[in-house]
């Protein structure tokens, strides 16, 4: 397999992991919104309410930064990262 094909395979693997996490916190947990809201979440808010106003949003921020770092690692591994400017 060529270097480029391997790079793309790893990139695609990272995409699936990222999208799986994204799916869980943007849609998956809200299948159980009513049940989850009975539980007390962080800072004492009802759990589902907390996810809609802080939790999911904050997880997306962290997820994107995590994703960019992982992707940079993959690019470096195959020598495809850009030199110089950032």
């Amino acid at each position: 397999m060529s270097k480029q094909a391997q790079h793309w395979e790893k990139t695609r693997g990272l995409l699936f992991v990222t999208l799986a996490i994204w799916f869980v916190f943007s849609m998956g947990i809200f299948l159980f919104g009513a049940e989850m809201n009975e539980v007390t979440g962080p800072f004492g808010y009802p759990l589902t309410y907390w996810f809609t106003c802080q939790g999911s949003l904050a997880i997306f921020v962290i997820l994107i930064f995590w994703f960019s770092n992982r992707q940079e690692k993959i690019d470096e591994e195959f020598g495809f990262s850009e030199r110089g400017d950032d």
Binding site: S26, C53, L57
Partner: protein, 604 residues
């Protein structure tokens, strides 16, 4: 000043700017104490901030194509994040979001999840690859990847439909704020708003818009957060509201239980002025079905990833990895405002309905409430209304009505904050509406000038001529938007949510598959764009005219249907026609790796 070392000095320049703005707020606060009138403060805030944006717009003037279209591709990640956040958060987000949460609770909060979650798709599926491509506009990518003028033209059409739906609402919002703050009739205020918008973008194009959007973000975030923190401290709810309002949320739930949601009769509701609503939904309980929540969130996420005025912001970063990081910063800066909106809604609701607080009005006598200053002001502005339906002389939960905008606009006054805060909020709303309008008008004008005029009509045009065409189009589109806004038919065109649905119907799969499926070809992409947009539009018209819809897809989520049609059409037609050429395949392979030259040249 703006050349060369301007980029290195960005933190310093915007640091001084932020300090200057805070200084201005303090001066206004002192002036208020010395007797400056509320009206004069409002004018000073709006005039001062707009003048600053105009100066930035002038300093960013340019005669170069890559500066005009993509800000010279040298915007650092953090600043591009701020600019995207301002580009993203519209006048509607700023003024109406807290109100939506206040009235509709959980069902509305799907928008918060959707409007942030969409950026995960932007970062992982699209932005870095389109940046590597080196395009100036979104149709530029479609046109080059799939080849041919027809594909390019279809992308321009989808872009224009989606963005124009959005922009009239934004120009309308600048007009509303300008008319209140400057005390002029709305029909003229719309054009004052338009001129302010064009001052930022005309001379410098994307470069001007980038640096004004950063300035606008700083104003709007201060204007949103300062009142939230101040009110929270003032009513003793907590020093840092985001972490400390659990008791208040629980207290609202108790009060809701105690008062009960008593439905009003039709005759009574007919007496309530149009646009005002009472509290009829639980504040923190789950009040929507899982599918209603998830479908709305999904539509907003896919729409986010397809809206060209957002995507083109990531064409301005210096590198592919900077484009990725910059998406993270964008959501961070958006998060700062979005996570504050539910807190503002909570504080506002508690201040109004808790009988144990001095500001609470439920349970007080109707005559007493009608005598309160702020009630009279906002009643006159048609944003508040009470009526003693049951004749018992006291205000009940179902006898108090408020407009959605009042949560942001009136809460500072209700909580007893000085007027300088209201002036600040007006400047923030203006900044939010202007920055989004600028991004949208520029997206449309750039697509038409670059993709239709330069790429299709006159490929030999010189840079100077192209940029003249781009600027003329900017003014024409701005005036078209303002004229429609002045007609005040916002009920039809103002629906921001429709813009997301249109964009995802026509563009989501042609963009995503362009990168991720090298077998996708021109015929498939054209079928995907045309059939996606038409079926989405058809579904919307059907539901608007009394159609029952299916699968619980409403007029707010019709993009789910449109994009599904788009996906099927694109896959079927692509497979039924011949595979793209070897050159196209190589182009796709090339755009998947960050290193090396971009596919389109620096000047194209």
């Amino acid at each position: 000043m703006i050349k060369g070392n301007f980029i290195d000095n960005l933190p310093k320049v915007y640091g001084i700017y932020t300090g200057g703005f805070i200084g201005f707020i303090i001066i206004m606060a002192i002036a208020e104490q010395m007797g400056m009138s509320a009206k004069a403060i409002g004018i000073a805030f709006v005039a001062f901030t707009v003048a600053i944006y105009a100066i930035i717009g002038y300093l960013s003037r340019t005669a170069q194509a890559d500066a005009y279209y993509v800000a010279g591709r040298q915007v650092p990640t953090v600043f591009n994040g701020m600019a995207t956040a301002a580009d993203w958060m519209s006048g509607a987000s700023f003024v109406a979001m807290a109100g939506g949460i206040y009235f509709k609770g959980y069902g509305y909060m799907a928008l918060l999840v959707g409007w942030t979650g969409g950026y995960v798709l932007v970062a992982s599926l699209l932005a870095p690859y389109l940046r590597k491509f080196g395009c100036y506009t979104v149709p530029d990518f479609i046109g080059t990847r799939y080849g041919g003028n027809l594909a390019r033209f279809c992308a321009v059409v989808v872009l224009t439909v989606a963005s124009f739906t959005y922009v009239t609402a934004q120009i309308n919002a600048t007009g509303t704020i300008a008319s209140v703050a400057l005390d002029i009739p709305f029909q003229y205020a719309v054009y004052v708003g338009l001129v302010s918008i064009l001052l930022c973008s005309m001379l410098g194009g994307m470069r001007g818009v980038t640096w004004t959007q950063v300035a606008q973000y700083i104003v709007l975030i201060i204007a949103y957060l300062l009142p939230v923190f101040w009110i929270s401290n003032k009513i003793g709810a907590g020093f840092f509201p985001h972490f400390m309002l659990a008791d208040e949320v629980a207290r609202i739930a108790d009060l809701e239980q105690q008062f009960g949601f008593v439905a009003n009769s039709k005759e009574n509701l007919a007496m309530v002025p149009k646009g005002l609503a009472g509290i009829t939904k639980a504040h923190s309980a789950v009040n929507a079905t899982p599918w209603a929540f998830i479908s709305l969130a999904l539509a907003m996420m896919m729409g986010t990833a397809s809206l060209p005025h957002v995507m083109m912001r990531y064409f301005t970063t210096p590198s592919v990895k900077a484009a990725r990081k910059s998406v993270g910063w964008s959501v961070f800066f958006i998060f700062l405002l979005y996570s504050s909106a539910p807190m503002l809604a909570t504080l506002s609701k508690l201040a109004l309905i808790d009988p144990s607080l001095p500001t609470g009005i439920i349970g007080k006598s109707v005559a007493d409430v009608q005598a309160i200053d702020w009630y009279q002001n906002w009643n006159q502005a048609n944003l508040m209304f009470i009526s003693d339906f049951n004749g018992n002389g006291t205000v009940e939960l179902n006898e108090f009505f408020m407009g959605g905008k009042a949560v942001v606009l009136a809460t500072p006054e209700i909580a007893g904050l000085p007027y300088v805060i209201s002036g600040l909020v007006a400047a923030g709303g203006m900044a939010a509406a202007m920055s989004t309008a600028d991004g949208l008008i520029l997206a449309i004008a750039n697509a038409i000038s670059h993709d239709v005029y330069y790429k299709i009509i006159d490929p030999k045009a010189e840079t100077a001529k192209r940029l003249v065409v781009a600027r003329v189009l900017l003014v024409v589109i701005g005036f078209a938007g303002a004229t429609i806004a002045a007609m005040e038919i916002q009920g039809i065109l103002g629906s921001v949510i429709w813009a997301f649905d249109f964009a995802m119907s026509g563009l989501f799969f042609p963009l995503v598959l362009g990168v991720w499926w090298s077998r996708a070809n021109r015929e498939g992409a054209i079928a995907g764009m045309v059939l996606g947009l038409l079926s989405g539009l058809g579904y919307l018209i059907w539901v608007r005219n009394g159609g029952s819809g299916f699968l619980g897809i409403t007029q707010l989520t019709f993009g789910i249907f449109g994009s599904a049609v788009s996906l099927v059409a694109m896959v079927v037609v692509s497979l039924a026609t011949s595979a793209p050429s070897a050159a196209t395949q190589r182009m796709v392979d090339e755009c998947r790796i960050p290193s090396g030259k971009s596919i389109l040249g620096k000047q194209h």
